[in-house]
């Protein structure tokens, strides 16, 4: 069915709403990357089979059937990935959230909650002896403010009908028939939304600059190259609500007068690519992408480019070089992307989350948007909460929320109640925040003051089992590997910094190494060519500032308190547990273990190469690591 005018869009919306309201029940099976990994596709098939074989139940799978009683739908990320596979049973406004659903549970859920109104208690989310029925009752979700993730997990991510029913394309229609391009740019500018990809540059300013370029061929590009290890927010949006991202890009294209757009998605997200391809095909079929959209003279085509495994392509000028078919290497600026971006034409380049915010801003207005978040950083921010935390998953909170609220109220505190040590924010381009930062409202500016960045929003929580020197080494080895090699400070500087860190964790560091790291880090920070190079030393500089003692301990005392650094571990045999079975002595590659048969053995620390073979093979758990 072609949607070729405002009127058809509205009538399709009415139809979609009444069709969805006619459902008795919807079974919403999470099909985010996380839940698929825990087996949710089989759960989906099982529910489909049960529904189809139950007499008296008409079931709907596809989007365009009518008169059905029960719908079985695949949704985007429902949020608590760790408890997957996740399933929601929805009857009107009444929703039950089930967790860890196994194949054997499906029939019981169907009989109790679909056919009747009973709840299967054992599959509810429980916390501290209390169980929670609906998703919005769960503290993890109840304490969030969802704008970008509004629909994520609530409906069929592939269905255009469901997107339209939820208010989809109403913003585009408002922009095109009530506002005009200039008013759209002004509204986005007024909203104060800042780019969610890391830099925090105001999106409205970018759009304004593109709109006033003399060159009339312009491009709209979406950065979906979410390369930060430990971040999956953008992937979840592309999977869970692809139409919202596309509508955001269409609004940008309409506002700046562009007729071609590109989405650059990283290769490790096959699901995102598949969902976006599907969405683009559906929109082309409906006439919402292509020529003369909604009967106007606005035309827009959208293309997908898959990344090929280069982190540096998350940098704007490297990303556009990659779309052009070149090595993804950043170039010197100016000229900026807004003047000469893709194919030397003025280009609006924003990330997934930024575009996904735009439809709500246009629909509800800049003032509404500014009412969320802080003065300097309006709106919400999505974070992926991982590491040593009770509830891992995808969250969205207003800017200005404190770390304490995120980690303890939403995240449920650290795993097994361990004491909090630090949180790494902004991935390899960010830094660590500690105890003393717990009560600071997080926004673009406040985090910068502490020598970290909000970045794209990865939050990795660390406890006493994490060695901060090792973490710094880990990030440096990542950025070093990913350095494109164009500029000397990054290519050589990160290499030397990595060598120093490697010798420190191996117990061969010198006290002067601390000054060397500081000096090299400051140099790379100020002299690298691109933003990624400039921020590469941040994890080292911030751990040096917050955890200098750990560095000194590694260098001077040759100790790693977290017992992580292999070369600094001391293996000891507990004589009370050792049975003298001689297994460890026989397995030791350097003959460092001695002792009589049936008597406790000992390890000669001078000979030991810390390989851990003895510990791994001891049947009596008699070998431990001394801190």
């Amino acid at each position: 069915m072609k949607i070729d005018s405002k009127e058809t869009l509205m009538s399709i919306r009415e139809e979609a709403l009444s069709r969805i309201a006619a459902y008795d029940c919807r079974i919403l099976v999470c099909s985010g990357t996380g839940c698929i990994a825990t087996g949710s596709q089989k759960i989906y098939e099982k529910f489909s089979e049960i529904a189809a074989n139950t007499p008296g139940v008409t079931v709907e799978f596809g989007p365009h059937d009518s008169g059905a009683h029960v719908g079985v739908k695949k949704t985007g990320c429902q949020g608590v990935c760790e408890l997957g596979p996740l399933v929601r049973i929805q009857k009107g406004d009444d929703v039950i959230q089930y967790t860890k659903v196994q194949l054997d549970d499906c029939q019981e859920i169907f009989d109790s909650s679909v056919l009747k109104d009973e709840i299967v208690d054992r599959l509810l989310y429980t916390k501290g002896g209390k169980s929670y029925k609906g998703p919005d009752d769960i503290p993890f979700i109840a304490k969030q403010t969802r704008v970008v993730l509004k629909n994520c997990g609530k409906f069929d991510a592939e269905s255009l009908e469901e997107y339209i029913a939820s208010g989809g394309f109403m913003a585009l229609s408002k922009a095109m028939f009530e506002m005009g391009p200039d008013a759209v740019v002004n509204e986005v500018d007024k909203s104060g939304i800042r780019g969610r990809g890391g830099g925090g540059f105001p999106a409205g300013k970018k759009w304004k600059q593109v709109a006033r370029q003399p060159e009339k061929i312009r491009y709209v590009v979406c950065n979906g190259d979410e390369g930060d290890p430990g971040a999956f927010m953008d992937g979840s949006v592309m999977e869970g609500d692809p139409y919202r991202l596309i509508e955001g890009m269409m609004l940008a294209a309409y506002a700046v007068g562009s007729s071609d757009g590109y989405i650059y998605v990283r290769a490790e997200y096959p699901m995102s690519v598949a969902r976006l391809r599907h969405a683009i095909a559906v929109l082309e079929e409906a006439g919402l992408l292509g020529d003369n959209i909604l009967g106007t003279d606005f035309s827009f085509r959208l293309h997908i480019n898959r990344g090929a495994g280069a982190f540096v392509c998350g940098e704007g000028s490297a990303l556009t070089a990659s779309i052009e078919g070149n090595r993804g290497m950043p170039r010197t600026k100016p000229p900026r992307t807004v003047e000469k971006g893709l194919w030397e034409k003025p280009t609006v380049l924003n990330n997934v989350e930024t575009y996904a915010n735009i439809p709500e801003i246009i629909l509800k207005g800049a003032d509404w948007y500014r009412s969320i978040g802080t003065e300097g950083s309006p709106g919400t921010k999505t974070f992926s909460l991982t590491g040593s935390i009770e509830n891992t998953g995808l969250i969205e909170v207003p800017m200005g929320t404190t770390l304490r609220e995120i980690i303890f109220d939403i995240g449920g505190g650290l795993k097994e109640g361990a004491p909090f040590k630090a949180v790494q924010i902004g991935g390899p381009s960010g830094g660590c925040l500690t105890e003393k930062h717990l009560d600071v409202p997080l926004d673009f500016d406040s985090v910068k003051k502490f020598g970290a960045i909000v970045g794209s929003g990865g939050l990795v929580v660390m406890d006493q089992n994490t060695c901060m020197v090792e973490v710094a080494r880990f990030f440096m080895s990542f950025t070093q590997r990913e350095s494109c090699g164009k500029c000397t400070p990054c290519r050589e500087g990160t290499k030397r910094m990595l060598e120093i860190l490697e010798r420190i964790v191996a117990g061969n560091g010198e006290m002067e190494d601390i000054d060397r790291l500081q000096e090299l880090g400051t140099m790379v920070r100020s002299m690298a060519l691109c933003g990624l190079g400039k921020s590469a030393p941040l994890p080292v500089l911030s751990t040096l500032r917050e955890f200098k003692d750990e560095y000194i301990e590694h260098i001077r005392d040759k100790k790693c308190a977290a017992k992580v650094c292999t070369k600094l571990r001391t293996f000891v045999i507990n004589p009370d547990l050792c049975q003298g079975c001689t297994k460890c002595a026989r397995n030791c590659p350097v003959n460092a273990i001695s002792g009589e048969k049936k008597k406790p053995h000992t390890i000669d620390p001078k000979k030991c190469i810390k390989c851990g073979t003895c510990k791994d093979n001891c049947k009596f758990d008699a070998i431990y690591i001394e801190a």
Partner: protein, 159 residues
């Protein structure tokens, strides 16, 4: 020497994206999807077809980590070493895989062309760390023991 079928297939892929310089990366991606590696002969052929120098094609192909001139195994195992997986102990999983399959950081593919083991920087399923991906399927909450079980299961499928 590759037989004619490779070139016929490549023509088909070139057709999909058009004979222009910007088609290089998607064409290489699709060739690699079909053959699990990028044969040098085909890359040179593509360069000629889309009108770029062979040197340029090689410079682009070698820049991106995903392109491989060596044939990969039937099962491409990507062990995630993103931050979340790293702090939940992904390194021992990688080491176990290397040990089990007789591979190393230098040797990625087993001689029987069954397994290729690589380390990647994030699969986007951080909530289920540590993870790994076998071809396109993500496996959650891994451990060295589970990794060995999985390899044995995959070996079993081929007996």
């Amino acid at each position: 020497m590759l037989d004619q079928s490779y070139y016929t297939k490549t023509d088909e892929i070139i057709e999909r994206y058009g004979k222009k310089a910007s088609s290089l990366i998607p064409i290489m991606q699709d060739i690699q999807e079909v053959y699990r590696y990028l044969p040098g002969e085909l890359l040179e052929y593509v360069a000629g077809q889309i009108g770029i120098k062979e040197a340029k094609a090689y410079s682009v192909a070698t820049f991106y980590e995903n392109f491989s001139f060596e044939e990969k195994g039937k099962y491409i195992i990507k062990v995630c070493d993103g931050t979340a997986c790293h702090v939940r102990k992904s390194t021992p999983i990688l080491e176990t895989m290397f040990k089990e399959l007789g591979l190393s950081k230098k040797k990625h593919t087993t001689d029987d062309m069954m397994f290729t083991v690589e380390m990647v920087s994030c699969l986007g399923a951080c909530g289920l760390a540590p993870t790994m991906m076998v071809n396109e399927e993500v496996h959650p909450k891994m451990s060295p023991e589970k990794a060995i079980d999985l390899i044995q299961e995959l070996r079993g499928e081929n007996r």
